[in-house]
Amino acid sequence: MKKQLAFYIDAKRCIGCFTCAMACKNQYHQESGVIWRDVYELKEEIYPHRERAFYSLACNHCENPTCLNVCPVVAYYKREADGVVVHEQDKCIGCGNCIRSCPYGAPRYNPVLKRAEKCSFCWQRLDDDRKPACVLSCPTDALQIVDLAEFDEANAVQYPAGFPRYPSLNPSVRFRLPAMPKMIRRKL
């Protein structure tokens, strides 16, 4: 398998502090309401505890990216070297097709520029041997960057509950499931 960078989301470690999302905002100063990375709380139907669990999600830089496939003006390309899916905003005509098409809600509409945009995996930082801003900022190391060609974590899951399953896109993302909290009950 060719090198394919991916986010590794360790829900066992994530404390839902939003630092990754803030770091992204700090790095790129997106327009208000335009979010590249967000932290989602698992709903009670999946994680029924007082303790909560979270997934920090952005673009998954899919193996077969629908955003790229549906864009009529070829504003996306996938980097040969590391599989990062890049959106070239100056080429975008703002048709919204990628936004409708991506089931992960990664491309967003920038109402000021009237064009789409999405997580870039901080490819400029990668090219400078630096980690993406979100990964760098995570205080618990719950968000990491891995190469799927070498990644070998037996407990990792691609489609955990609470994350849509689209094998045809093959999203480059892996999760560690959240731990079940230890329940301590007083004996009656």
Binding site: T66, V70, C71, V74, I93, C95, G162, P164, L169
Partner: protein, 265 residues
């Protein structure tokens, strides 16, 4: 929920009406005996519908001047194929209108109808993306074909001679019956899907817009045809109004897959 996308509502409904109009015109002129009808005004109407739809579609783009670039990705983007298909269809319809005497040449008529149907298929593929589980299937194609058949037949009645009105009325009545069954059944089928598809079904069933579309665009026109045994001039207007409401519902009520992040899919 999503947005109303009025420019896309106008573009899709008008272009599909033009496809239906041209396809029915080809059949009426060349595959049925009797007078052809008012073919030139009919093809002019189809051309005007397409031009109006194309102009409306520009308002959907953040950068309308980039529209010509939209045919750059024919290799994989259905939207590029759609842009090319509708473009070629519009050109054929304009040539048909300009070259028409009392009929449009048979080869050109059927070629235009075929290209129109292919363009309609491309449009359907554009609007069935993975992001909307309820629509990521054959349904948009069925909905769009029904628009072409229902509104196309309705509009064709304005250009049809009295001898051939029963044929057009029959096409419209059968299309309306199929449309009624499809539109009543599909939202209830969605209820048996995953969370997002089910929510789309619930949005439809609880939406006054959906029920208004069933009554205005399907039930009343069907009853009018049944009671009068002929096609009154106001019926196609109602069918068009129903399709516009239905298309607004199509864009407005479908739930995006990402809306349920963190919940069971």
């Amino acid at each position: 929920m999503s947005e109303m996308e009025l420019p896309l509502v106008i573009f899709t409904v008008l272009s599909q009406t033009a496809v239906g109009l041209v396809a029915i015109s080809a059949i009426r002129q060349h595959a049925a005996d009797g007078p052809a009808g008012s073919v030139r005004p009919e093809w002019m109407t189809a051309a005007l519908l397409l031009i109006a739809g194309l102009v409306a579609s520009l308002f959907h783009l953040g950068h309308p001047l980039g529209a010509p670039l939209a045919i750059k990705h024919l290799g994989s983007a259905w939207l590029s194929r759609e842009a090319l298909g509708i473009g070629v269809f519009t050109a054929l319809v304009i040539v048909g209108f300009l070259s028409a005497r009392d009929r449009v040449n048979a080869g050109l008529s059927f070629a235009a109808a075929a290209v129109g149907l292919i363009a309609l298929f491309f449009t359907a593929m554009t609007y069935s993306p993975p992001g909307f589980p309820a629509l990521n299937n054959v349904m948009p194609f069925v909905f769009f074909l029904l628009t072409a058949a229902m509104v196309g037949a309705g509009f064709a009645s304005y250009f049809t001679s009295a001898e051939k009105m029963p044929m057009i009325t029959r096409i419209l009545a059968v299309s309306l019956i199929i449309g009624l069954v499809v539109y009543l059944v599909v939202p209830f089928l969605w209820l048996s899907g995953g969370t997002v598809m089910r929510q789309t079904g619930l949005n439809y069933i609880s939406s006054p817009l959906y029920w208004a579309r069933i009554i205005v665009g399907l039930v009343i026109p069907l009853m009018a045809i049944w009671r009068m045994r002929t096609l009154a001039a106001w019926v196609p207007v109602l069918v068009l109004a129903g399709e516009i409401m239905g298309r607004i519902a199509f864009f407005l009520l479908a739930v995006h897959a990402s809306a349920n992040m963190g919940g069971i899919y």
